[in-house]
C-alpha cells in the first residue's frame, strides 16, 4: 500500500494510486494464459485495445485489479497480468465496491456483460453507480447469452428468436445508457469493439473520471448473434447511424456531416438537416450538464435498427466518491476522537469493580 508518487500525472480517477516511471508496454499486461474466446469474437478486439491502453496510465501492474462476474466477457481478467478476480454471476460490482472502498490505492476495473450486469447483477450495477464508487465498469453488450449458448438477454430486441424464445422474445429490452443515467451515474459512455481509437479514447476519459465510470461496449458475438451491430460497422452506412459525441462540439453526423441535432423544449432532440437548420441551431454537446435528463434524452435516440446511435461520453460530472467519503469519515473520527483504544472501548459504559 504505497503512497502515490505523484498526484498530478493526469487521470483524475488515479489520484490516490501509485504511478511508475518504468516504461510499460502492452506485453507487460499480457498474461501467459491462452485466450479462449471463439474465433472472431469482439472480445479479442476489446482485450487488445485495453492491453495496449494500460501503459498510458503509468500505474504499476500490481496496483491494477480486474474484477469480473460470469459470462464470456468475464474471462477477461485471466488474460491480463495484473491482479484479477473472476467472481460469480452478477456480483462483480459488489466485490469491486468492497475492494475499492478499502483500498483507494488500486485502479479497479469491472468487466461485465449484458446478462451478468443487467440481468442477474442489475441491482449491484445500479447501486455501484449511484454510490459513485471509484471503479470503471466495462459492460460488453452483445445482446445475447453466449456462455450458456444462445438465450436472449436483457438487451435483446423484442421478438428475437433464440433457443429459449422459439416464437420470439416478449421482453422489452434495457437501454444500458438510459439505465445508468437513471441511476445517476456520474460517467456514462458508449463505444464499439471494432473502433479501437474510439474505444481507447473512452477508456482514457473513464480513467480520468473520479468516481464510477460506466462504459457500454457494443460487442459482436459471431456465434450466437452475428452482425447485431452491423449498421454501426458497415462503412457504407455507419456514418448515417453513429452520432459521435464530443464535448463542446455541435452534434453532427451523416457521411458529409450534413445531419445534426436540434434541441427541443421537451426531451429528445430533433434530427435536422444542417443546411436548413444552420450550424448555429445545432445542439452543442455538453457532457458536464448536471441534470441527467439531457444525457438521457440523447440516449433515447437509439433504438431497434440503430436509427441514431450516439457513441462517446454522454455524461461526465463531478460528485464526491463513495470511497473517498468513507475514508474521510474514518479520518474525521480519528481526528475528533483520537485513534481507537481497545481497552477503553471494552470498558465504555457502566462498569463496576469486584475484589
Amino acid at each position: 500500500m504505497t503512497e502515490p508518487v505523484d498526484g498530478d500525472r493526469g487521470f483524475g480517477g488515479l489520484k490516490l494510486v501509485p504511478r511508475t516511471d518504468a516504461k510499460q508496454t502492452m506485453k507487460d499486461f499480457k498474461s501467459d494464459q491462452e485466450v479462449r474466446w471463439c474465433p472472431g469474437c469482439g472480445d479479442y478486439a476489446i482485450l487488445a485495445a485495453f492491453q495496449s491502453f494500460l501503459p498510458e496510465l503509468g500505474v504499476p501492474r500490481e496496483n491494477i485489479v480486474i474484477v469480473s462476474g460470469i459470462g464470456c466477457s468475464s474471462r477477461f481478467p485471466y488474460y491480463l497480468d495484473t491482479y484479477g478476480f473472476h467472481s460469480i454471476h452478477g456480483r462483480a460490482p459488489a466485490i469491486a465496491t468492497g475492494l475499492a472502498s478499502s483500498r483507494p490505492d488500486l485502479s479497479v476495473w469491472v468487466i461485465t456483460g449484458d446478462g451478468d450486469g443487467l440481468s442477474i447483477g442489475g441491482n449491484h450495477l445500479i447501486h455501484a453507480l449511484r454510490r459513485n464508487v471509484n471503479i470503471n465498469i466495462l459492460l460488453f453488450n452483445n445482446r445475447i447469452y453466449g456462455l450458456t449458448k444462445g438465450q436472449y438477454s436483457p438487451t435483446s430486441e423484442q421478438g428475437m428468436i433464440t433457443k429459449s424464445t422459439p416464437m420470439g422474445s416478449l421482453d422489452n429490452p434495457f437501454n444500458p445508457i438510459s439505465l445508468a443515467l437513471g441511476a445517476e451515474a456520474t460517467f456514462v459512455a458508449r463505444t464499439i469493439d471494432s473502433d479501437r481509437k474510439h474505444l481507447q479514447s473512452v477508456l482514457r476519459a473513464a480513467a480520468d473520471h473520479e468516481g464510477a465510470s460506466f462504459i457500454e461496449i457494443y460487442q459482436n458475438c459471431p456465434i450466437f448473434n452475428d452482425d447485431a451491430f452491423e449498421p454501426l460497422k458497415d462503412a457504407s452506412v455507419r456514418d448515417d447511424h453513429i452520432l459521435r459525441l464530443e464535448h463542446g462540439e455541435p452534434i453532427k453526423f451523416g457521411a458529409d456531416g450534413g445531419k445534426g441535432l436540434k434541441p427541443t423544449p421537451y426531451g429528445t432532440p430533433e434530427v435536422v438537416d444542417v443546411a436548413t437548420a444552420g450550424e448555429d441551431g445545432l445542439l452543442v454537446h455538453d457532457a458536464h450538464v448536471d441534470d441527467p435528463a439531457y444525457a438521457f434524452a440523447l440516449s433515447r435516440l437509439d433504438g431497434p435498427g440503430f436509427p441514431h446511435t450516439p457513441i462517446g461520453v454522454f455524461r461526465s460530472v463531478e460528485r464526491p466518491t463513495y470511497d473517498a467519503q468513507m475514508s474521510a469519515q474514518v479520518d474525521e473520527a480519528r481526528e475528533r476522537q483520537g485513534e481507537g483504544e481497545l481497552g477503553a472501548l471494552l470498558a465504555s459504559g457502566d462498569t463496576w469493580q469486584v475484589g
Binding site: T2, I88, A94, L342
Partner: protein
C-alpha cells in the same frame, strides 16, 4: 414508617406491557442498576417483530425478563417471581408462566372495559377471584404518574408516557437498587429536552416514593452482591460483545475491519455498533442486499482487510453462493449468522438453533467451512476473536453462529486485559514462491494447508483467482478430473486439520462412573448448565460438555462420546447436531428438541436429564 427488609438470594422479574410502553428500556435500566450493584444476572428480552403492533392486543405485548442473584447464575430464569403487567394483554400473555405465590404488579388504569374485552376478559381479573393464588398489587400507575407530573409543562400524552419510569422507580425501591445510573442515563438521553428530562426524573422518584410511603408494599427486598472473581465488570449483550470481538479481532490480527451488511433482525445491532467505531479504522458498508454485503466483504478480504458480513438465516441463504466462492478462492471471511426462528421469514425476533446444517452444508459442491458458536452473551467476544484467528490463519470463510437469545440477552462480563488477548497476526505474502520469481497462488503452507494471502499492491505477486476450479499449486483454470479430486480433498483436509489447532472438548464431570453426558452447543449452555446443577444438587450424576467448534469438531470428541453410556443432546431444532454426531461417530445420541422460539427452561431440561438417567 420503617418497612421490613427481607433478604433473598435470587429474584426473577418480568416487565410486560404494550410495545409502546417502553418495557425494553425499563428492563434495560433495571438491569444496569442491578449490574452496577454487583449481582450476577441474566436477561431475556422478548418482543414482537412488528414495530408497533395494535395497542393493547396480545401480539403487541413486549416483555423483558431479568434474573439476578447473590451467586452466579446461568439463565434468565424459568418462571418470574414478579410480573409487572402494564395492561390486560400483558397480564394475559404472561400469566401462564407465573408460579403460585408470585407477586403481580398491575397497572389498574389500563384495565378498562375496552382493554379487557380486547383480549377476551369478560370480567376484570383484578376484581374477581381468578388471581387469588398470586399476591396482587393493584397500582394505578398511569394516573399516579400523571398526578405527579401535573406541574410540568408537558402534554398529557408525555406525562402518561413516563409511567414506565414510575414503574422503574417503584421496582428500584422494592429491590433496593442504586439509582444514580438511571438518573445519569436520563440526563444524557433527554439532554436536549429539559422538560421531558425533569418529568421523567420526577416520575422515577414518584415511583420510588410510592413504594416507600404507601401501604401497598409492606416489605422491600435485598439481594446481596454476588461473589464473582475479582476484576472490572460491565453488563453486555451478545450483539455488543460480538461487535467488540470483531474490533478486537481486527486489532489483534492487524487487519482493518470491513463490514458489508444488510439490515436484518436480530443482527442489525452489530452493523449499528460497528458503524460507530470508525476511529478503529472500521469501515461499514450498508449494502443494497445480502449478496452485495458478503460480496463487498470478500472483495475487501482480497485487498487484505478483515472482511466481515453479518446476517440471520434468510440472509445466509442469499449469501451461500459467495461463501462458496470464498471457499474456492480461499480468502478469509467472517460470516456472522445470528440465528432466528425459521424457515423463511419465520419469527424474526425469536431464537432458534436451526441454521447449523445450513452453515455446514448450505452451498453447492464440497464446500467445507469452519463453524463456531458462542455459548453466552459475553462469550460472543471470545468466539468472534477465535473466528478471526481461524479465518485469517487458514484463509477460509468461517461461520459464527450466534442466536437471537444470545444477541439480545445480557450478563455481567469481566473485562479481559487487552495485553492478555492472543496475538493472531498473519503476514501477507511478500515474495514470489516459485521458480524463477514465479508466484504460485495455490502453493500451500505444508502445515496449515493455507495458500498465500497475496494482496493487490504487492509487486511480483500478480495473479488471478476465481470460482472456476484451479490447478493445484499454480492456480490456473483446470478441468482435469484428477486435479479436481485433489483440490476437493485438499480444501477438505485444510478445514479438517483445524481440529489440531483448537482446544480439546472439556467435560465437566465431578463424579466417578457417570453414565450420562449432556452435550450441547451455542446458546443453550446456560439452560443446560442450570439443569445439570439441579440434578447434582438432588444427588444425581451427570456430565456436561459444550461444543464451541461445530466444524471441525474438537479432536477428542469421539473419545469423550465413547466414555458415556448415554449422550443427551438438547437442541432448539429438530436434531441437527445429533445428525452430525450420528453420521460422524455412529453414536446413537438421544435428542431433546423443542422449537418454540424461546430458550429451554432449566427445570424442563432437568426433568429430561433425570428421565435419561432413570431409563433402563
Amino acid at each position: 414508617m420503617t418497612k421490613q427488609v427481607q433478604q433473598l438470594d435470587r429474584v426473577i422479574i418480568r416487565f410486560a406491557g404494550d410495545s409502546g410502553d417502553g418495557m425494553q428500556l425499563t428492563g434495560d435500566r433495571f438491569t444496569q442498576e442491578t449490574a452496577s450493584f454487583g449481582n450476577d444476572l441474566s436477561t431475556l428480552p422478548n418482543f414482537p417483530a412488528e414495530i408497533r403492533a395494535p395497542a393493547g392486543t396480545l401480539p403487541g405485548v413486549s416483555s423483558f425478563q431479568l434474573h439476578f442473584a447473590d451467586h452466579d447464575i446461568m439463565t434468565p430464569g424459568d418462571a418470574p417471581n414478579v410480573l409487572v403487567a402494564m395492561n390486560p394483554a400483558a397480564l394475559k400473555a404472561n400469566l401462564g408462566d407465573l408460579p403460585r405465590g408470585a407477586d403481580l404488579i398491575a397497572n389498574t388504569d389500563e384495565f378498562t372495559k375496552r382493554n379487557l374485552s380486547k383480549v377476551g376478559y369478560e370480567t376484570n381479573p383484578l376484581e374477581d377471584d381468578s388471581l387469588s393464588e398470586f399476591r396482587v398489587h393493584a397500582v394505578p400507575l398511569t394516573s399516579l404518574t400523571v398526578k405527579a407530573l401535573e406541574d410540568f409543562e408537558i402534554s398529557k400524552k408525555d406525562a402518561e408516557r413516563a409511567k414506565n419510569m414510575f414503574a422503574l422507580g417503584l421496582l428500584s425501591w422494592l429491590y433496593n437498587r442504586p439509582t444514580e445510573g438511571t438518573l445519569r442515563f436520563l440526563e444524557s438521553k433527554f439532554a436536549k429536552k429539559p422538560e421531558i428530562l425533569k418529568s421523567n426524573v420526577a416520575a422515577f422518584q414518584a415511583g420510588w416514593n410510592y413504594g416507600e410511603t404507601t401501604e401497598a408494599f409492606s416489605v422491600s427486598y435485598e439481594i446481596k452482591p454476588a461473589v464473582l472473581p475479582p476484576g472490572t465488570y460491565r453488563n453486555i449483550t451478545g450483539n455488543l460483545a460480538l461487535s467488540y470481538g470483531l474490533i478486537a479481532g481486527s486489532r489483534l490480527s492487524g487487519r482493518p475491519l470491513f463490514l458489508g451488511s444488510y439490515p436484518i433482525t436480530p443482527a442489525s445491532d452489530i452493523l449499528h455498533e460497528l458503524s460507530r467505531h470508525k476511529k478503529f479504522g472500521v469501515r461499514t458498508f450498508q449494502a443494497e442486499d445480502e449478496i452485495a454485503g458478503v460480496g463487498a466483504a470478500l472483495g475487501a478480504a482480497f485487498g487484505g482487510s478483515l472482511g466481515v458480513t453479518t446476517t440471520s438465516g434468510p440472509g445466509m441463504a442469499l449469501k451461500a453462493e459467495t461463501i462458496g466462492l470464498g471457499v474456492s478462492v480461499e480468502l478469509p471471511l467472517i460470516v456472522v449468522d445470528v440465528q432466528r426462528a425459521g424457515p423463511s421469514t419465520g419469527m424474526p425476533t425469536k431464537t432458534e438453533q436451526a441454521d447449523l446444517l445450513q452453515a455446514m452444508f448450505g452451498r453447492n459442491g464440497e464446500s467445507p467451512v469452519p463453524v463456531i458458536a458462542p455459548r453466552s452473551p459475553s462469550d460472543c467476544f471470545d468466539a468472534a476473536i477465535e473466528a478471526v484467528r481461524i479465518a485469517t490463519k487458514y484463509r477460509t470463510p468461517v461461520v459464527l453462529l450466534s442466536d437471537g437469545y444470545l444477541a439480545n440477552g445480557s450478563e455481567p462480563w469481566r473485562l479481559p486485559e487487552v495485553s492478555e488477548l492472543p496475538d493472531i497476526t498473519v503476514a501477507d505474502a511478500a515474495e514470489p514462491n516459485g521458480e524463477d520469481g514465479a508466484f504460485l497462488p495455490f502453493k500451500r503452507d505444508p502445515e496449515t494447508l493455507a495458500r498465500p494471502w497475496a494482496v493487490p499492491g504487492t509487486a511480483g505477486l500478480e495473479h488471478r483467482i476465481g470460482g472456476i476450479e484451479k490447478s493445484d499449486v499454480d492456480g490456473n483454470i483446470s478441468y482435469s478430473p484428477s486435479n479436481h479430486d485433489r483440490m476437493v480433498r485438499l480444501r477438505q483436509a485444510k478445514i479438517d486439520g483445524i481440529a489440531n489447532d483448537i482446544e480439546p472438548l472439556e467435560v465437566d464431570d465431578p463424579h466417578d462412573d457417570t453414565k450420562v453426558l449432556v452435550l450441547g452447543w451455542g446458546g443453550t449452555y446456560g439452560s443446560i448448565g442450570a439443569a445439570v446443577r439441579r440434578i447434582r444438587r438432588a444427588g444425581g450424576k451427570v456430565a456436561q460438555a459444550h461444543l464451541r467448534h461445530l466444524n471441525p469438531f474438537p479432536a477428542n470428541l469421539g473419545e469423550v462420546l465413547g466414555r458415556y453410556d448415554k449422550v443427551l443432546v438438547p437442541e432448539i431444532n429438530l436434531g441437527q447436531l445429533a445428525l452430525l454426531l450420528r453420521g460422524r461417530f455412529l453414536v446413537d445420541v438421544i435428542g431433546y428438541n423443542r422449537v418454540r422460539g424461546l430458550p429451554f427452561k432449566a427445570e424442563e431440561l432437568a426433568g429430561v436429564i433425570q428421565d435419561v438417567i432413570d431409563s433402563d
